[in-house]
């Protein structure tokens, strides 16, 4: 119960900070709009029913950016603010604090779909045709996948101040490997193999299938694979949190690491 309360407090604080942070608001509002415009300009003139890739793709990019970058960046911000040591030293495990922060970034990330859908509808007269139950299921699984990736990566940010820099390129890499704005079947086979170990890839495929893209209807299989991979990330994350905890106490160089 104490842990739940701590996570809720972290969530509340994170929501307050995020709501007045211009970059967070840029990330869920402007970022999806820019990519949706780009996608719609490219995909809507030829028809082919690909505008879902522009609309959902813009939202996915904003959602992933919030979950991955903003979620991870919260740890970096704690380091810059000089509060990382307090978080690590307090009796509540770091993972609990990160859970609260991540729920906040996921909630903001979900907002990314609003400007994308609105722009598609009002600006380009394009709308989504969804199969509601599979779509809702896929979206839940996708959220779990984003949560798991961010949870697993967050300790890396605590471990090293350079982790953010090194993994920054990974953000756009997941646009490619996750099939956010085009099907991964057009990628070279070795990239398709790499994408198959990413939990978001399977959830995104399920999401697009529910939005009418011709992938078939194997929702349960795709969601099961995504959930299994996500659980694997969480297990890896659990190990990393222990490494961070031990290393921080042994070296005493958390903020400088």
């Amino acid at each position: 119960m104490t842990y739940v309360r701590a996570a809720v407090r972290a969530f509340e604080m994170s929501m307050k900070l995020r709501s007045v942070n211009p970059f967070s608001n840029f990330s869920w509002l402007a970022f999806p709009l820019i990519f949706t415009v780009l996608g719609l300009l490219l995909l809507s003139p030829g028809g082919g029913g690909h505008s879902a890739y522009a609309i959902l793709g813009g939202g996915l990019i904003g959602y992933w950016g919030m979950a991955y970058l903003e979620g991870g960046n919260e740890i970096q911000n704690e380091r810059w603010s000089g509060t990382l040591e307090q978080i690590m030293a307090c009796p509540t495990p770091l993972a609990v604090i990160v859970v609260g922060k991540l729920f906040s970034s996921l909630l903001f990330g979900m907002l990314s779909f609003i400007p994308a859908v609105a722009l598609g509808y009002f600006g380009f007269h394009q709308s989504l045709h969804l199969d509601p139950i599979p779509f809702a299921l896929s979206f839940l699984v996708l959220t779990f996948a984003f949560f798991s990736v961010a949870m697993a990566l967050a300790p890396l940010y605590a471990l090293s101040r350079r982790a953010f820099t090194v993994t920054n390129g990974f953000e756009i890499g997941v646009y490619v490997l996750g099939g956010f704005m085009f099907p991964i079947s057009q990628l070279p086979s070795w990239l398709q193999a790499a994408s198959s170990v990413l939990a978001p890839t399977w959830a995104v495929r399920s999401l697009y299938a529910a939005a009418g893209q011709p992938f078939g209807h194997e929702y349960l299989r795709w969601c099961a694979i995504s959930i299994a991979l996500s659980c694997g990330y969480l297990a890896a994350g659990w190990f990393l949190y222990r490494v961070v905890d031990v290393r921080a106490r042994v070296t005493g160089q958390l903020a400088l690491a």
Partner: protein, 262 residues
């Protein structure tokens, strides 16, 4: 001579300060990993929309746009970080020549931007087999240099805004990604709405990228000189406006003691 020394030392130190995180792995990620995935993502998106035969258009455009990583992010943050790191009042209080100080924010980024595009073009060549057999490579290099200069001009103008806003990173991000839409990088300018074409004509990159595309198709200096002159003029205007803004804001800040009050 002293001015030149100050210029080059200032260039180098501000670049080092900005990339203080630049371990070899970090720099590799910034210089190679990000360009690879950005070119890959936007080119594959273009291929999905228009077919594999158009890969050259997207790969070339996005390789050239990499100059904005330095020209926009680098230059804007170089000016903006003075405020974030608490050195702005010291900078404004120093007797250093303002033109030298101002242009020094951009110089190394222009060079690094050129290197970035070179990396991007090699990657585009390797990943998408873009055909450079008809290209005048010397002229293409001139196009890249000019694009890098003009993008830095835009960066200097946005960087000046850091004197009156704390959210300069948002400005840099917005500028960087909007260039992808407006400047003929991924969507031909002719396919944009009229109001967007007007914006495109006022931005750096638009003419430079068009010139580079024509050079890759075999055009000579005579055919692209107008575009390159226009590109240079646009960049110069942005740099001048940026400097004027910087000077005016500095004047206002001195009068009111407002260096970090915004």
């Amino acid at each position: 001579m002293t001015t030149l020394r100050i210029f080059f030392r200032s260039c180098w130190f501000q670049y080092r300060a900005m990339f203080n995180w630049a371990t070899p792995i970090g720099y590799f990620s910034y210089k190679f990993l990000q360009p690879i995935v950005q070119i890959l993502f936007l080119t594959e998106l273009g291929i999905f929309a228009t077919g594999r035969s158009n890969a050259l258009y997207f790969a070339l455009g996005n390789a050239l746009q990499l100059t904005a990583v330095n020209g926009i992010f680098g230059v804007v943050m170089s000016v903006g970080n003075e405020r974030q790191f608490g050195t702005l009042p010291i900078l404004l209080g120093s007797p250093a020549n303002r033109v030298v100080t101002f242009l020094g924010r951009a110089f190394v980024h222009v060079l690094d931007g050129i290197a970035g595009v070179a990396v991007g073009l090699v990657l585009a060549f390797v990943m998408f087999r873009i055909d450079l057999s008809h290209a005048n490579l010397g002229l293409l290099a001139i196009c890249v240099c000019i694009i890098s200069l003009t993008t830095a001009g835009l960066g200097l103008m946005f960087g000046s805004l850091s004197l009156i806003t704390r959210d300069v990173f948002v400005i840099a991000n917005a500028a960087y990604y909007l260039l992808l839409v407006f400047c003929g990088i991924n969507v031909p300018v002719s396919r944009l709405p009229e109001w967007a074409q007007l914006i495109a004509s006022c931005l750096p990159l638009t003419r430079g990228v068009q010139a580079a595309r024509e050079v890759v198709s075999g055009a000579g200096l005579a055919q692209v000189s107008g575009l390159l002159a226009g590109e240079l003029a646009v960049g110069l205007i942005y740099a001048l406006v940026g400097y004027a803004l910087f000077a005016w804001l500095e004047h206002q800040a001195r009068r009111g003691g407002l260096q970090e009050a915004y």
